[in-house]
């Protein structure tokens, strides 16, 4: 009984992966309907992940578009793990690349440091108001560094395991565990500090 109960989710997830693999190969062969279905299922969570890391919705959309192209360019999906795992790894790495390209510091520092190095297109107060208008959680998350934001978003949206977070963020498993642990503590502290709890 326990064996059956325990093995059911694995069996169900394997079936889901096989369905993903079938849809992916159909989409690669030019099946418009299968491609639409895949885009509809992968995009919302990928967009949320990119938005949490980058802090901008339009930039996040561009990242998801680029990630979808990369996913289809790869032309390989064995169905061993979820297609969304590959998608989220690509999205996370593209976000990191974007942050690295925009300012070398952004990957390791949060919102406070970004404001110091930002250009003078808007005043710090305007920038702060703009960031606050998004949501309380998003505002608090912007104080964390990009890796911590990515770890939290992967954990929250995708139920990512520590090894999946490690793979996506390019860290060792132990470091990824510490990263997620610190990210949770920092977010709770920041939300409490800002009066959002």
């Amino acid at each position: 009984m326990w064996q059956e109960f325990k093995s059911r989710p694995i069996w169900a997830s394997m079936m889901a992966h096989q369905a993903d693999a079938a849809a992916f190969s159909a989409a690669l062969e030019g099946d418009d309907k299968a491609a639409r279905k895949l885009i509809a299922s992968l995009s919302p969570k990928a967009h949320a992940l990119a938005w949490r890391i980058l802090g901008e919705s339009i930039e996040a959309e561009d990242i998801v578009q680029a990630a979808l192209i990369k996913l289809f360019e790869a032309k390989k999906y064995d169905g061993k793990s979820a297609l969304s795992t590959y998608m989220h790894t690509i999205v996370t790495r593209l976000c990191f690349d974007k942050l690295r390209a925009s300012a070398s510091h952004k990957l390791d520092y949060g919102f406070e440091f970004d404001e110091l190095v930002s250009d003078s297109r808007s005043t710090p107060i305007e920038a702060l108001e703009r960031k606050q208008s998004d949501s309380n959680v998003q505002h608090a998350m912007q104080f964390l560094n990009a890796r911590q934001r990515a770890a939290l978003a992967l954990w929250a949206y995708h139920d990512a395991t520590i090894s999946e977070i490690a793979k996506a963020t390019g860290l060792e498993v132990n470091a990824a565990y510490q990263l997620l642990h610190r990210a949770k503590i920092n977010l709770r502290k920041k939300m409490e500090h800002l009066g959002y709890e």
Binding site: A27, L28, G30, D32, A35, R36, I39, A40, S43, P44, H47, A48, W51, R52, S57, A60, E61, V64, Q65, L68, I69, F72, E73, D134, S135, N136, V137, Q138, L152, A153, W155, A156, Y157, K184, L187, R188, M191
Partner: protein, 97 residues
């Protein structure tokens, strides 16, 4: 997962999120298929020209055979004319002798 983690996760997941733009799906589909065609055309070091050639290989090989036949006929005619000239010259030289 403990209660605190669950609460934190719910706060992140059920938070207000920006929506994807209306034309996102259409744009994504266009990007994927345009890129994919481009990639498949360049995949083994070929360009679209070779992709066109492989699609219409029978017509193109027919054209090539016709071209070779026409060239061969033209060449044969040229050789015949040359031989005729040589014959005429040799005849005239014989007549002088």
């Amino acid at each position: 997962m403990n209660d605190d983690d669950k609460k934190l996760k719910d706060k992140i997941v059920f938070d207000v999120h920006p929506r994807l733009s209306e034309d996102f799906s259409k744009k994504a589909l266009g990007n994927i298929f345009i890129k994919k065609d481009f990639i498949s055309a360049n995949n083994d070091g070929t360009l679209r020209l070779l992709s066109f050639a492989s699609r219409h290989k029978f017509i193109l090989s027919g054209c090539l055979l016709l071209g070779i036949f026409a060239f061969q006929q033209g060449h044969q005619k040229f050789i015949d004319e040359e031989l005729l000239n040589v014959d005429t010259l040799s005849m005239s030289s014989f007549s002088v002798l």
